[in-house]
C-alpha cells in the first residue's frame, strides 16, 4: 500500500511542479481572477479587464517577493555559471 501511495504522491508532485512551479500564489491568483470574472459576468458587469490586470500585478509581486533585494539577478547569473 505504501509504495502505491508514494507513487501517487510523486505523480501529483511532478504535475504540481510542472504546472504551478515555485510560486503557488500566482496560480491561486489566476483561479481567483477567473472566479471573480465569472461572478461579475453572471451579473452583467464587464469584467474582461480583471485577469490581465491581475496577471501584471502578480508578476510584479512574485518577482519582488522572490528577491526583496533583487538578488535574483545575481542568483540567475550564478545558476548560469
Amino acid at each position: 500500500m505504501k509504495p502505491i501511495w508514494s507513487s501517487v504522491v510523486a505523480f501529483g508532485s511532478f504535475w504540481y511542479r510542472f504546472i504551478v512551479g515555485d510560486d503557488w500564489t500566482v496560480a491561486a491568483a489566476v483561479v481567483f481572477g477567473l472566479l471573480a470574472t465569472a461572478f461579475l459576468n453572471a451579473r452583467a458587469v464587464a469584467a474582461w479587464w480583471l485577469v490581465p490586470v491581475l496577471v501584471v500585478v502578480m508578476v510584479v509581486v512574485s518577482l519582488r517577493r522572490a528577491s526583496p533585494h533583487r538578488n535574483f539577478l545575481r542568483e540567475a547569473q550564478e545558476e548560469k555559471k
Binding site: F18, I19, V20, G21, D22, D23, V26, A27, V30, V31, L34, T37, A38, N41, A47, W48, V51, P52, V55, V56, M58, V59, V60, S62, L63, R70, F72, L73, R74, A76, Q77, K80, K81
Partner: protein
C-alpha cells in the same frame, strides 16, 4: 480566411519557438553525450525518447479533442496561463540577468568516454532522459495550444520543425546552438502563452472580449510592455544604473 491564416501563423510561431527553447538543451545534451560516449547508443536513446513523446502527444491530443470547445478553452486557457506565467517570470529574470546570452554546455561526470564492450546503456539512458524531460514541456504546449486553437496539425509541425532545425544546426556547427539566446526565446514564448491563456480562459467563461480576436494583440502589447519595464527596472536596481542613486 485571414483569421485562419493569422491563427495558423500564431500557432506555428508559438510552438516553433517553444520547441526551440527546449530543443537547444535537448540537442546540447544529446551532442554532448554522443561526442564523449559514442553515437550508436546515444542516438538509440534519443530516438526512443522521441517515440515516447509522440505517444504522449497522440494520447493527450485525442483525450483533449473529446472535450467540448467551451470548457476546453477555460480549462486549457487557465493551465496555459499558469504555465506560461512560469516561463514569463523566468524569462524576465534571466533576460534581466544575462541579456541575450546563450547557455553553457553542461558538464557531467557521467559523460566520461565509454571504452567498454557491448551497448553503452549509460549513454542510452542519458540521451533518452534528455529528450523526454526536455520534450515533455514542448509536448504539453503543442497539444494544449494546438487542440484549443483547433489546429493540432500545424502545432505539431511547428514543434517538429524546431527540433529538426536545432538538431541540424547542432550536428553541423555545435557551438552555434549554445549561442542561441534561449532566455529571450523563453520570455517570448512565456509572453505568448500568457497572452493566449488569458484570452482563452476568459472567453471560456463566456466573457465577450471588446474587439473580438483583436484583443489578443492588445494583451500581447500589455505583457510585452510589462516585461520590458520589469527588465529595465530590475537591471537598473541590481547593477546600479539607477538615475536617482548617488554615485
Amino acid at each position: 480566411m485571414n483569421n485562419l491564416s493569422t491563427g495558423i501563423g500564431f500557432v506555428l510561431l508559438t510552438t516553433f519557438l517553444a520547441s526551440t527553447v527546449e530543443a537547444i538543451e535537448m540537442v546540447t545534451i544529446v551532442v554532448g553525450v554522443g561526442a564523449t560516449r559514442g553515437w550508436r547508443a546515444t542516438l538509440a536513446g534519443a530516438a526512443s525518447g522521441f517515440v515516447v513523446l509522440a505517444i504522449v502527444v497522440a494520447v493527450f491530443g485525442l483525450a483533449l479533442s473529446a472535450i467540448p470547445i467551451g470548457p476546453l478553452r477555460l480549462i486549457v486557457g487557465a493551465l496555459l496561463l499558469v504555465f506560461g506565467l512560469q516561463w514569463f517570470r523566468k524569462g524576465v529574470t534571466r533576460v534581466a540577468a544575462n541579456g541575450f546570452a546563450g547557455i553553457k554546455a553542461g558538464h557531467s561526470d557521467e559523460e566520461l568516454a565509454w571504452t567498454g564492450p557491448g551497448f553503452d546503456w549509460t549513454a542510452f539512458v542519458l540521451a533518452f532522459k534528455g529528450v523526454v524531460l526536455e520534450g515533455l514541456e514542448v509536448a504539453f504546449i503543442v497539444v494544449t495550444f494546438g487542440v484549443t486553437a483547433n489546429l493540432l496539425g500545424p502545432a505539431v509541425i511547428g514543434g517538429v520543425a524546431a527540433v529538426v532545425v536545432v538538431s541540424a544546426i547542432g550536428a553541423a556547427i555545435q557551438p552555434v546552438v549554445s549561442r542561441i539566446p534561449r532566455s529571450l526565446l523563453q520570455l517570448v514564448v512565456g509572453t505568448m502563452l500568457t497572452t493566449f491563456g488569458t484570452f482563452w480562459a476568459v472567453e471560456g467563461i463566456g466573457v465577450v472580449w471588446p474587439a473580438g480576436d483583436a484583443a489578443i494583440l492588445a494583451l500581447l502589447a500589455l505583457y510585452v510592455l510589462t516585461a520590458v519595464t520589469l527588465i529595465s527596472i530590475e537591471r537598473r536596481h541590481a547593477f546600479g544604473f539607477s538615475p536617482w542613486r548617488k554615485a
